[in-house]
Amino acid sequence: MDLLRAIFIDPFAQMIGSPDLLAQTIWEGFVGGVLYALIALGFVLIFKASGVFNFAQGIMMVFAALTLVGLHEKGVPAWVALILTIAVMYALAVGIERLVLRPLVNQPDIILFMATFGITYFLIGLGELVFGGNPKSMITKELFLPGGSIDLHIPGGRVQLQKLDIAAAAVALIMVAGLALFFQKTRIGRALRAVADDHQAALSVGISLNQIWVIVWFTAGVVALATGIFWGARSDVSFALQVVALKALPVLILGGLTSVPGAIVGGLIIGIGEKLGEFYWGPLLGGGIESWLAYIIALAFLLFRPQGLFGEKIIERI
């Protein structure tokens, strides 16, 4: 009876009793969710265009942030370092297309997937070789990212909103809107959607698959850079950050591998869900449940929608 009460009554009583904590938990979950969504977006972009599940997305985030901070440490002004980092991500996209994707075209998906493992280890080694293994502080002030917090006073207490987190959410929204416009309104965007729908058909109407791959990997690199900047500012830029990228997996399970809105909505559901779960039900299990709770939430959704929230339903006739 006590257990049932602890599961079904106490958490809700706490929510009503301390609305400030509830609002703070939802805000923290929202910010985490936005960042998960950005990581997931990188996966989705690449999967849509090339059918590759890019295991290297996490290390791309670390590598991009590390390049930015590393260049600044070497005396390059922050904005120049930012532009150079974007250039590095473009060079990386070209390199991956030329050296990995092009030679492996028409190979089974699993081969391409394994190749992204190779890219992961290459980027880890390159990053450590050039910038060292020590964590670095993100150059938030130099990039004019805001510091400090805003206190919202609500009945029962206050909710603290970090200005950096607000900026992260705003940048994420702008990026998603920009990407949506890019895909819907530009010629390249339409070509990309054509490739995503059918490679052969896209090739037959003269769309260059190689060019599209470069654009998509570059876009994923820029998204990785934005995510790396904000996550690096919340903690530090270190190789441990790539583990955070694994949180995108339940987001992808939930949102579907091919859906941009799915990545966003999935990220928010996972982010808010895991924080609420950890905060209100975690103590029942000794805490630390958010590592696996995200997967439980995703699997629960899968029971009802196996293709994910917005994924395409694949019907195969035998």
Binding site: S18, L21, Q24, T25, E28, V31, G32, I124, E128, G132, G133, N134, P135, S137, S149, Q160, Q162, W231, R234, S235, D236, S238, F239, A240, L241, V243, V244, L246, K247, E274, K275, E278, F279, G282, P283, G286, G287, G288, E290, S291
Partner: protein, 438 residues
């Protein structure tokens, strides 16, 4: 034809070199492997320690020609703080007759403990690893001076209790910890003390995957509002926790960490980290003759990977302290056995006879660097006192006098845990090793 012969010779030579067994290092040297991690999620903690360990031993080679006239062969093996890789390192160095291993991970230490007595290679887990291994009667091959995690916990609790753990009765104490072997190590003692003294213990585990994603733990801390918060963090967990504490406006004077954060961990949180406290038992800064020798003979000569400015940081000096223990154990082993080139068995005896008093530290060029301590056959730790140091935004300042462990409470628990370990591991050998300080 000639080309073909050359090709065959090259292939043959390569095959032979690959097939040849790993040979022991030269007989006129002493092999000291260092398990380090300069890469991966824990590099922030691992790198300065690796640098400090390496540089002190390299300095002895440069300045003194080694120890007792015998050169040290110092060899690093990258573990990435991964137990599996640590065991691979152990297997790789074992055939080279190491005189000691330094696992630098509680997980690796726990896996190596059963191997030590079989392979006759002593383990130095300096202020980490299994607390109960301080009991030399049960663990003759394991050494964890100068204090155990349990000592450290009792010292923190004494400090926040104003000198007595009993003063915590009725309070709420939080424990924010790295959810792995290391962070879990003090929990049994924490729980026993909570029950005995009557304080409420709140646990906040941080999974390795969430080291840089701690907002959930800090929401819990805000809700529970503990009177004090004890932290056992490592790697990327430390700077993130300090930043989160500052963000949550948690009073820094109520947050006390065990001895593992580094200068960079506090510095990365900016002004918000001012007032952050941690335990320590040795000096910070580079103002010691031995460190000046390192700078002159090793770093300035390009024989080290240490970046300018790292010498004197907490974890760099910790690495130096670790190597001081290695060097002293080897020197003691030479003294006890009369041999110049000592073995693992000899160094085990050396580790059981460490005697670092103020005069010896001065002799080593580390005057006032750390408190004196002794090991014996029964006590492989010494349970030394530590002090609290506080970050002022740029450097550490001492915030307390020396605080000794709550021996009356810790000792019986250590005995109990050592006994339980031996009983749990069927066939655990009774001590048969000689003792030189009865």
């Amino acid at each position: 034809m000639k080309t073909m012969t050359l090709f065959k010779s090259a292939v043959g030579g390569l095959a032979l070199s690959l097939a040849a067994p790993v040979t022991a290092v030269a007989e006129d040297s002493i092999y000291v492997p260092l398990f380090t991690y300069r890469t991966g999620p824990f590099a922030g903690s691992g790198t300065p320690i690796a640098d400090g360990m390496h540089d002190y031993l390299a300095m002895l080679n440069e300045r003194d020609g080694g120890i007792g006239g015998v050169k040290l062969v110092v060899d690093e093996c990258e573990t990435g703080y991964d137990t599996k890789k640590g065991l691979e390192c152990y297997d790789a160095v074992k055939p080279k007759n190491p005189v000691i291993v330094n696992p630098w991970s509680t997980g690796i230490t726990l896996s190596l403990i059963p191997k030590a007595s079989v392979d006759k290679i002593p383990i130095l887990s300096m202020a980490y690893g299994l607390s109960a291994s301080a009991r030399g009667d049960v663990f003759p091959w394991v050494f964890n001076p100068p204090a155990t995690y349990w000592d450290g916990l009792s010292e923190i609790l004494k400090y926040v209790g104003g000198g007595s753990i009993d003063a915590l009765k009725g309070k709420t104490v939080g424990y924010l910890y790295f959810d792995a072997g290391y962070g879990r190590e003090p929990i049994p003692m924490f729980q026993t003390l909570a029950k005995e003294v009557g304080f409420t213990l709140k646990l906040y585990p941080v999974a390795p995957a969430n080291m840089q994603n701690q907002s959930a733990q800090w929401l819990d801390i805000r809700r529970d509002n503990p009177d004090f918060l004890v932290m056992y963090g490592w790697g990327a967990m430390n700077p993130t926790a300090i930043k989160e504490a500052a963000k949550a406006e948690f009073p820094m004077d109520k947050l006390v960490s065990i001895w593992w954060p580094n200068d960079a961990d506090a510095a990365s949180a900016g002004d918000g980290a001012k007032g952050f406290k941690m335990l320590n038992w040795h000096g910070t800064g580079a103002n010691y003759p031995a460190l000046a020798d390192i700078q002159k003979l090793v770093i300035d000569k390009g024989k080290s990977q240490t970046p300018r400015g790292e010498v004197g940081e907490v974890l760099y000096n910790r690495g130096v302290y670790n190597s001081v223990l290695i060097a002293e154990a080897i020197a003691q082993a030479q003294k006890i056995t009369g041999k110049k080139v000592v073995t693992g068995e000899d160094v085990r005896r050396g580790l059981e006879n460490l005697n670092l008093d103020a005069a010896r530290f001065k002799e080593l060029g580390l005057d006032g660097f750390a408190g004196s301590f002794k090991t014996t056959c029964a006590d492989h730790n010494s349970h030394s006192a530590t002090f609290v140091q506080q970050w002022d935004g740029a450097k550490w300042t001492k915030a307390s006098d020396l605080i000794g462990p709550d021996t009356a409470r810790v000792e019986p628990l250590l005995d109990e845990a050592a006994k339980a370990y031996a009983e749990k591991n069927a066939g655990w050998p009774a001590r048969s090793e000689p003792c030189d300080n009865k």
